[in-house]
């Protein structure tokens, strides 16, 4: 051990460089893995709806629409008649979509500190989208008003559990909320487990679970989209039939697109997916380059110390002793690198937290990073160390 330290001191510059390289790699890889985990968690978040069974159709009228509510009913009836379609409704927005309706909701009239909440409107959303109702009831048929009716406002509301707990932790059913529509309150009649908001970052992470459902029916010209609950086995056939079905009801419209919920989710998280792959690629490249650096340096040292190794072998050191010597040497270098690297990892994380609102690096990443780099060092040094152990004692008698 002492012998190794004195050797390292003699090769100070090279040792420092390899420690620095291991430290930098450790700091970057720790943060990269952490960022990858964050992205995967984001991509994995629940939508709160029956994803495998949903299809969204977006459409728009050409010119002014005077009869939109009636046409919407005809559209939905025609869609429900398609084989494999279980339910269909007209809605104003969809989880992970790119258009959102939001409002600031409060407990008291004219309070100004209400959190920003997503507002879902449409008929029978709970049934159609497969949202889980955990308390209270769904809206009654007579409670619905038309979303474009400026004389009447909805009188009831259904909220997510997160929002119910925010306003009324002691029990929210029957309590009023203000701000969703008009000056009159909406009474909470039901609580749903969860529904994701379209722009999950809108208003910050603390409000991403705050959403409400309102008993409002959407004419297609207002909401711009239909959502269908289908038999997953018949998805392809239904997607193929949707456009012509709607055009048959009224040709004076444009069907913008139709897609499964899976596509909506993939689209929404495409940036996160690309970033996760990039981070993974960079991490692997860094580890490979560091490993090659270790190989290069160790090979040089083995070559430089050939005579010395021969002498030690002649004096009775076994091959195993020589092998272990280089392995231990690498272990010491890696440990130094890891210790410095951990400090740098937290420094880097601090910087990222300040610039990009990334959470704190959890302590659990220390053992992961350490194990990774120890392992990497040992694998990298194995080749040169084995070569060193094969140096015959006779080398000691030769001049280099």
């Amino acid at each position: 051990m002492l012998q190794i330290l004195s050797t390292l001191r003699r090769h100070r510059t090279a040792s420092i460089l390899i420690v620095l390289e291991i430290a930098l790699t450790c700091a970057i890889v720790c943060n990269a893995i952490f960022l990858i985990r964050e992205r995967l968690a984001r991509m994995d978040q629940s939508s709160g709806v029956a994803e495998d069974e949903l299809i969204q159709v977006r459409l728009t009228g050409i010119g002014k629409q005077d009869n939109a509510s009636a046409i919407t009913e005809q559209d939905l009836a025609a869609l429900r008649a398609l084989p494999g379609v279980k339910k269909a409704t007209s809605i104003n927005m969809i989880p992970f979509g790119n258009s959102s309706w939001n409002s600031s909701i409060t407990k008291v009239l004219d309070a100004t500190d209400g959190p920003n909440c997503g507002m879902y409107m449409g008929k029978n959303l709970i049934d159609t989208m497969g949202i889980r109702l955990i308390a209270g009831r769904d809206f009654l048929p007579e409670e619905y008003v038309a979303a474009d009716d400026d004389k009447h406002d909805p009188k009831q509301v259904i909220v997510t559990k997160a929002l119910a707990d925010y306003f009324y932790p002691e029990g929210a059913l029957g309590k009023p909320l203000y701000g969703a529509a008009g000056r009159e309150p909406q009474i909470i009649v039901g609580i749903i487990d969860h529904i994701a908001r379209p722009n999950d970052g809108f208003g910050g992470p603390e409000v991403k679970d705050y959403a409400i459902l309102l008993p409002a029916t959407m004419p297609f010209s207002f909401g711009g989209r239909y959502v269908l609950r289908v038999d997953p086995a018949q998805t392809a056939a239904i997607l193929g039939a949707v456009d012509s079905t709607l055009t048959k009801v009224d040709p004076n419209r444009l069907i913008l697109d139709h897609m499964t919920f899976g596509q909506i989710r993939r689209d929404h998280f495409k940036g996160d997916r690309a970033m996760a792959w990039l981070l993974l690629g960079v991490s692997i490249a860094l580890l490979v380059i560091t490993a090659l650096g270790v190989v290069g340096l160790a090979s040089f040292w083995v070559q430089q110390r050939t005579r010395q190794i021969g002498v030690r072998r002649a004096l009775g050191a076994t091959r195993g002793d020589i092998l272990r010597y280089f392995q231990l040497e690498n272990f010491i270098l890696a440990t130094l690198g890891i210790v410095v690297g951990m400090g740098m990892a937290f420094g880097l994380n601090e910087l990222l937290m300040r610039e990009y609102a990334i959470p704190r690096l959890p302590g659990t990443f220390l053992p992961i990073g350490a194990a990774l780099l120890w392992l990497l060092g040992q694998i990298a040094v194995l080749g040169p160390a084995l070569r060193a152990s094969l140096i015959p004692p006779a080398v000691a008698t030769r001049t280099v």
């Binding site: 510059t13 090279a14 460089l17 390899i18 620095l20 390289e21 930098l24 790699t25 970057i28 990269a32 728009t60 050409i62 010119g63 002014k64 009239l109 004219d110 100004t112 400026d150 406002d153 203000y178 701000g179 529509a181 008009g182 000056r183 444009l254 913008l256 689209d267 495409k270 940036g271 690309a274 970033m275 990039l278 981070l279 960079v282 490249a285 860094l286 380059i289 560091t290 090659l292 650096g293 290069g296 340096l297 040089f300 070559q303 430089q304 990222l352 610039e355 990009y356 280099v400």
Partner: protein, 438 residues
């Protein structure tokens, strides 16, 4: 002398191909990754209208009700329709325009010219000065006039692309185009207009392809054409029957003004303060005057237009380059020290320390040169990959000459820097000690 050193460097590099390849590849990857991300960053943070970005200003006021007022707060995100129309009528700047994003359906002519399926395009509802103010190039015809804005005359300006698609020609000025069930007269055809970023309205795609059809704001309002973007309303809870109506308490309109020079900004700001005070006197504004006037660059900064992920990617790439450089320093050091014997002989034969130093630097520079060429190839590949990413700036990711030169300089400078320490250690070899051991 330099040629001789270069020859020596090549010989030395050839002697240990694996080590040389390792250094070259490390530098190439570091440079390639940095250049890819830096090029993207460079493109995304470009000044979209450099010739007058310091004279164009994005205007916002604060017409919200007093309730919820916090001193020092930002003004509203955009403008109300009423304030925009009033300021536009005032015409206090050199040019000014109000605008919003929208979309419209293009239909075939009833007379049967050019049968095609109706399709939907991104459009912009704006006012006459838009084209002059933003230096939009016309290939035929020209902008509509303020009079036509006032009368809500059915006129449109379309892109070359749309003209080609509908009519198969760009000779279309004066011809009618059916837009959302209404016949409109084409007054101008513009070349492709795609400022990057799409600075004048960042509420939709910041780097997207831009609009294909432009029509007067007044026409869009009269025909109730579709609008898109961000809208905030602050009514006192009474339902707002039409949030796009003239007096609606909603901000959703972008308002830009061009001043004759940047130093007129203060005077214009004062004018806006006076306007706010007058509105307060009339009882419309309830808060103290809160005026924001940002030129193009300030506006882009304020809107944080460059995506965070792109900045993060640049940091990652440069961290990667740093590790590659440390790696190269280590390997060069190893390589030079391994040649201590050779260096000792050259020193003993009369080579100065300086000569050895330069020789070793030439060798590391050569590694940088090859690494740089390879890195350039990798940057090209990297940008190719970016172009196939599902992002709205994908098709913009190309190497330009400046970035090309920069890549090269980066590769050589960084490898020479990486060579400094090893070369210094290498040339410090004591000749006597080395000769003795032989």
């Amino acid at each position: 002398m330099f040629g001789y050193y270069f020859d020596l460097a090549l010989r030395s590099l050839k002697r240990n191909r694996l080590l040389t390849a390792l250094m070259v590849v490390a530098i190439a990857f570091g440079v390639g990754a940095s250049m890819t991300t830096l090029t993207v960053l460079h493109i995304l943070s470009a000044d979209p209208i450099p010739q007058k970005s310091d004279r164009l200003f994005f205007v916002t006021l604060d017409p919200r009700r007093a309730l919820g007022f916090r001193p020092g707060e930002e003004a509203t995100f955009q403008m109300t329709r009423l304030d925009s129309e009033t300021l536009l009528r005032d015409g206090h700047g050199k040019h000014q325009a109000m605008m919003t994003a929208g979309s419209s359906s293009i239909e075939p002519d009833r007379s049967g010219v050019g049968r095609f399926q109706p399709f939907r395009i991104d459009s912009r509802w704006t006012s006459a000065d838009f084209f002059t103010m933003f230096d939009v190039q016309f290939i035929a015809g020209g902008p509509w006039t303020a009079t036509e804005d006032g009368r809500a005359t059915r006129v449109v300006v379309i892109t070359r692309e749309l003209a080609q698609k509908v009519f198969g020609t760009t000779e279309v000025v004066g011809r009618p185009l059916r837009v959302d069930n209404t016949e409109m007269r084409i007054v101008g055809v513009i070349a492709e207009y795609r400022p990057t970023p799409h600075f004048y309205d960042l509420t939709n795609a910041s780097y997207g392809a831009g609009e294909q059809l432009f029509a007067p704001f007044s026409v869009a309002m009269e025909l109730k054409l579709q609008t898109s973007g961000n809208m905030n309303c602050w009514g006192d809870g009474e339902s707002v029957p039409d949030s796009r109506a003239l007096g609606a308490p909603c901000d959703w309109v972008q308002y830009w003004v061009e001043l004759a020079s940047a130093d007129q900004a203060d005077a214009y700001r004062e004018y806006l303060v006076h306007y706010s005070e007058d509105q307060a006197k009339a009882g419309r504004f309830q808060r103290p005057p809160n005026v924001r006037l940002r030129d193009v660059r300030e506006f882009l900064d304020y809107m944080k237009v460059v995506p965070n992920d792109v900045r993060l990617q640049s940091w990652i790439a440069f961290a990667f380059l740093l590790v590659c450089l440390v790696n190269t320093i280590g390997l060069l050091l190893t390589k030079f020290l391994r040649r201590a014997g050779e260096i000792g002989v050259r020193r003993a034969l009369g080579a100065s320390k300086r000569a050895i130093f330069v020789q070793l630097l030439v060798e590391s520079g050569t590694v940088g040169l090859v690494g740089g060429v390879l890195g350039l190839g990798l940057a090209w590949l990297g940008l190719f990959a970016v172009r196939h990413q599902p992002v709205d700036y994908a098709d913009l990711a190309h190497l330009d000459v400046r970035m090309l030169a920069f890549t090269f300089a980066l590769a050589i400078v960084s490898s020479v820097l990486a060579g400094l320490l090893p070369a210094w250690r290498g040339c410090s070899v004591a000749p006597a000690a080395q000769l003795k051991s032989h």
